[in-house]
């Protein structure tokens, strides 16, 4: 049945969807391929030095960071998701969205904030010293370390896993979980026997995002002096002035991540996660009582305080105290640029994500899988490396389009595309395809294919099928995808630094400008505004869920 259906639908699908998919894939893939192509260049002297002195330590450093952050983030994320999806307890409705908020805080800003707070002149030690005359022995609070980096990255990245798992559990798992409860399984057993296996695609999608983020993180690792592959890439580039070796290292990183992805896919190759019941009703949470209820609330509170309230309160305090000095009239522009870049970027990403995850689903083949993996690969490499790929492609493109520019009356050799916002937006699309794609893929994965096939068999158009059949089923994933991507772009730094047009500042570049000069207090105001925009977007977009 399926076999006879596919070619027909394939034929019918050579239309807008396919075209968009191909164009989208090309835009995303060209710069990535450009970076990967570095693998085939002959290695130079530095490469062997890098291999000799750096690689082992730094690969181990990255592996350690990824493992622990991934583990803790998954633990916190899944535990919170299950608590909130499966139970009611005091403040549950608040935490439902509040626990997503740490995502609005760029990890490197959190790192600066925490290290300043806990440092010698920070509020904790200064208060102890001045009010209580207690001098902490040096090193009592030590955030600037491997452990500190794991702490920061876990706290500010776990919401990926929390968000995806929670949405999944609420929408898709009700019948299984309620049946398990009816069959007399204890809560612990329900969690390990049903919830965990069932939500694996959603959890894995979240974990993958965390892993990507950790691998590509440069800000936190560099500031805390943790040795990772990312810091090695930049040490090679900035220290040895060797862009080629740096890109080679990034290419290997990318290969490693694509491999990781394929392995995860392969491990759950034979399992199906779609549910074909005609009605999947939302999960009805059970009421927690007494100690359990307060325990749940306390757990959520602690995480919320550490991952959002405390650092934001500190940023707010600094903004009030020092904001006046750095306030310039161009802050309105900064805000406008931030929202505009993120808005357009997110729109394009989701569009391509919808189209390509549909395509991947329709023509399910190893090739399609590899292709879609590669489209997401930009997330795993440091932004600056993606930027080089984009820069190379755009300058090449401008060269090719030179005759057209001359016809338009521009000077010889004028750069048009590479001086426009289009270049930065393309960078965003490549870097953050994964957040949009991951969310949509998880959404599609749990939707049985027969729904779409039935609609198509009944003669409905592809667009109609999408709007009326698929969209209502993936709306949750689409929303998560939007919020995640939007917030991600707001926080983005390295691409924006390198690919922006003249006089284009965003809140994140302004925060960086101060932070890089060790002026953490001055960085507070732009950082706070940045977090606020992220917060508002989370609130607006999650509102439909609260009834």
């Amino acid at each position: 049945m399926k076999i006879t259906l596919l070619p027909r639908s394939a034929g019918r699908h050579v239309n807008g969807w396919t075209m968009t998919s191909v164009i989208g894939a090309a835009v995303v893939l060209l710069p990535i391929l450009y970076v990967l192509a570095c693998l085939f260049r002959p290695p130079n002297d530095n490469w062997s030095k890098v291999k000799q002195f750096l690689l082992t330590d730094y690969v181990l450093g990255s592996a350690k960071l990824v493992f622990f952050t991934g583990f803790f983030a998954a633990f916190i994320g899944v535990a919170l998701a299950w608590l909130i999806a499966g139970y009611t307890f005091p403040l549950r409705n608040f935490f439902k969205w509040a626990l997503v908020l740490p995502l609005a805080v760029p990890p490197y800003i959190a790192a600066y904030t925490y290290s300043s707070m806990t440092g010698y002149t920070g509020i904790i030690q200064a208060t102890l010293r001045n009010r209580f005359d207690v001098a902490l022995p040096p090193g009592t609070i030590e955030v600037m370390s491997d452990r500190g980096a794991i702490f920061i990255l876990t706290l500010f990245l776990f919401p990926y896993i929390f968000m995806m798992t929670r949405v999944f559990l609420e929408r898709q798992s009700a019948s299984f979980i309620e049946n398990a409860r009816l069959l007399g399984h204890k809560p612990i057993s329900v969690f390990f026997r049903v919830v965990l296996p069932l939500s694996r695609p959603a959890v894995m999608a979240g974990v993958m995002l965390v892993v990507f983020e950790v691998l590509s993180d440069y800000g936190v690792a560099n500031y805390f002096g943790v040795q990772t592959v990312s810091t090695a890439i930049f040490q090679t580039w900035f220290g040895m002035y060797d862009v080629d070796s740096a890109m080679k290292m990034a290419a290997w990183l990318m290969i490693g991540v694509i491999g990781l992805f394929m392995i995860e896919r392969w491990l759950r190759r034979s399992k199906r996660y779609a549910s074909t019941t005609s009605r999947s009703h939302p999960l009805r949470p059970q009421r927690l009582k007494g100690l359990a209820a307060w325990g749940a609330a306390a757990f959520c509170t602690v995480i919320f305080l550490l991952a959002f309230a405390i650092p934001i309160a500190q940023l707010a305090a600094w903004s009030i105290q020092y904001g006046g000095k750095i306030w310039r009239s161009d802050f309105a522009d900064l805000i406008a640029n931030t929202i505009k870049g993120a808005g357009i970027g997110t729109a394009i990403i989701l569009l391509i994500a919808i189209v390509s995850s549909r395509a991947a689903r329709m023509f399910d083949s190893p090739f399609m899988q590899a292709l879609s993996r590669m489209m997401s690969a930009g997330y795993s490499v440091p932004g600056a490396i993606v930027a080089i790929g984009v820069l190379a492609i755009f300058i090449e493109l401008d060269g090719r389009l030179a005759p057209l520019y001359r016809a338009m009356g521009k000077d010889d050799g004028a750069l048009v595309l590479s001086l426009s916002l289009a270049m930065l937006l393309t960078g965003y699309v490549i870097r953050f395809m994964a957040t949009g794609y991951g969310a949509l893929e998880a959404g599609y994965e749990k939707m049985p294919r027969v729904y779409s096939e039935a609609s198509r068999t009944l003669g409905r158009s592809s667009l109609f099928t999408f709007l009326r059949v698929e969209l209502p089923l993936i709306k949750g994933s689409l929303l998560s995808g939007f919020v995640l991507t939007f917030v991600e772009i707001i926080k983005e730094l390295p691409l924006t630094l390198l690919l922006r047009p003249f006089n284009y500042d965003t809140l994140s570049t302004r925060a960086y400008q101060y932070a890089t000069d060790e002026r953490v207090f001055d960085a507070a105001l732009p950082s706070l505004l940045l977090v606020m925009i992220g917060l508002v977007s989370v609130l607006i977009l999650l509102r439909p869920e609260r009834r």
């Binding site: 290290s115 105290q321 569009l351 300058i395 004028a414 750069l415 595309l417």
Partner: protein
């Protein structure tokens, strides 16, 4: 139930995407612009459009000058604004990290819109020159305002300000008479007492490069190994953090840039001011090779399209007035001898500086990185 809201959102996406395709992005979408309903994304794009002044079109009769800069100080922007006011020349700026900006200039080749490249660190200025993206700056005014030793030999770049990398010490625990040279800090007597940031930082790499130039590779490696062995803790944080760690009692002596001392002293945070009060500044190697300094400077891009304006801006930035402002705001040392120094810098007095060509910082940087990795100075 919410599919309506979502389909509206989707339509908005499609429209924005189509709009963008019209702007010349290489994304073309099957635009399904059915109904137009307000949605967050759409209203944003509409209201924000006027703010898009991205392309460096000449907006005034005075023309323009385009800068790629890795200096991130507020005072720079103030000075650009002042320059525009005086001359009518618009100043367009892209800020970024220096090596990335050089990479961008290289890749843009003869089409580059950049006229000036401004950065911190002599090594980077030299590597811009080595990458062949600069050309000589021909200006009698600049030559007069910037001493020859703070300029590239071919004047492909010129200094805008300098900073010294000095020894700071805990006033209550260290007698400055105990201090003498950078080399001394690598001796056993300072074991477990030295604080310095990571060797991945350029300030340290350039300092190490200058030592390679002065004492040769072997000696410099021994020095770096000594420092690594004497560290009070694994390197962490920035220069300011070293000063704080001294006051906190982690170690007794540290190496840091002079202007951070100034910024701590001028901080609005009372705790930071206290830190500045409790540390002393010592200019090392006064009897021997001189204190290590680094330079912040500007290079004229080889394919500059607004060369005259660029030179005018350089003349302005190295003028006494602008130089005083840079020094006052940032506690950097001016390159122009006519400039007024802030009190703190005056109080430090004159000092002997290292006699090393800044170009060496760039040439020897890879070697410095290699040594740091080898001796385990993280």
């Amino acid at each position: 139930m919410f599919s309506k809201r979502n389909s509206i959102l989707l339509v908005a996406f499609l429209m924005v995407a189509t709009l963008l395709a019209g702007c010349g992005a290489n994304n073309s979408k099957p635009g399904n612009s059915g109904e137009a309903s307000p949605s967050p994304t759409q209203t944003q794009t509409q209201t924000e459009t006027p703010a898009n002044t991205a392309s460096p079109e000449p907006s005034q009769t005075g023309g323009e000058v385009n800068i790629y800069t890795a200096r991130h100080y507020d005072v720079d922007q103030e000075l650009y604004d002042r320059f525009t006011k005086q001359t009518g020349i618009t100043v367009n700026v892209v800020e970024g990290k220096a090596p990335e900006l050089i990479e961008r200039i290289k890749r843009e080749g003869s089409s580059t819109p950049a006229d000036l490249f401004i950065t911190v660190d002599g090594g980077i200025l030299n590597s811009a020159k080595a990458e062949d993206v600069l050309q000589p700056i021909v200006s009698g005014v600049v030559d007069e305002q910037v001493p020859a030793e703070l300029r590239d030999k071919e004047s492909q770049w010129i200094g805008l300000s300098t900073r010294a990398r000095v020894i700071v010490y805990a006033k209550d625990r260290v007698d400055p008479a105990q201090l003498s040279t950078y080399e001394d800090l690598a001796e056993d007597k300072w074991k477990g007492k030295v604080l310095v940031r990571s060797a991945t930082n350029l300030y340290n790499q350039s300092m190490l490069a200058s030592f390679i130039a002065i004492m040769g590779e072997k000696e410099a490696e021994a020095w770096a190994a000594g420092i690594a062995a004497n560290l009070a803790r694994e390197p962490e944080g920035g220069d300011r953090d070293q000063a704080k760690a001294i006051v906190a009692g982690v170690g007794d002596v540290g190496i840091m840039n002079t202007y951070y001392v100034g910024q701590l002293a001028a901080s609005q945070d009372a705790e930071e001011v206290k830190v500045a009060e409790q540390i002393g500044v010592f200019f090392p190697n006064q009897q021997t090779t001189g204190t290590h300094i680094n330079i912040s400077g500007a290079g004229l891009i080889k394919h500059s399209k607004n060369k005259d304006n660029a030179v005018k801006l350089l003349e302005f930035l190295t003028g006494a007035e602008a130089q005083s402002k840079i020094s006052q705001a940032n506690f950097e040392f001016p390159v122009n001898g006519q400039a007024e120094l802030p009190e703190l810098l005056k109080s430090w007095g004159e000092f002997k500086i290292q006699n090393v060509d800044f170009a060496k910082y760039g040439e020897l940087n890879p070697k410095a990185v290699e040594i740091a990795n080898k001796v385990g100075w993280k």
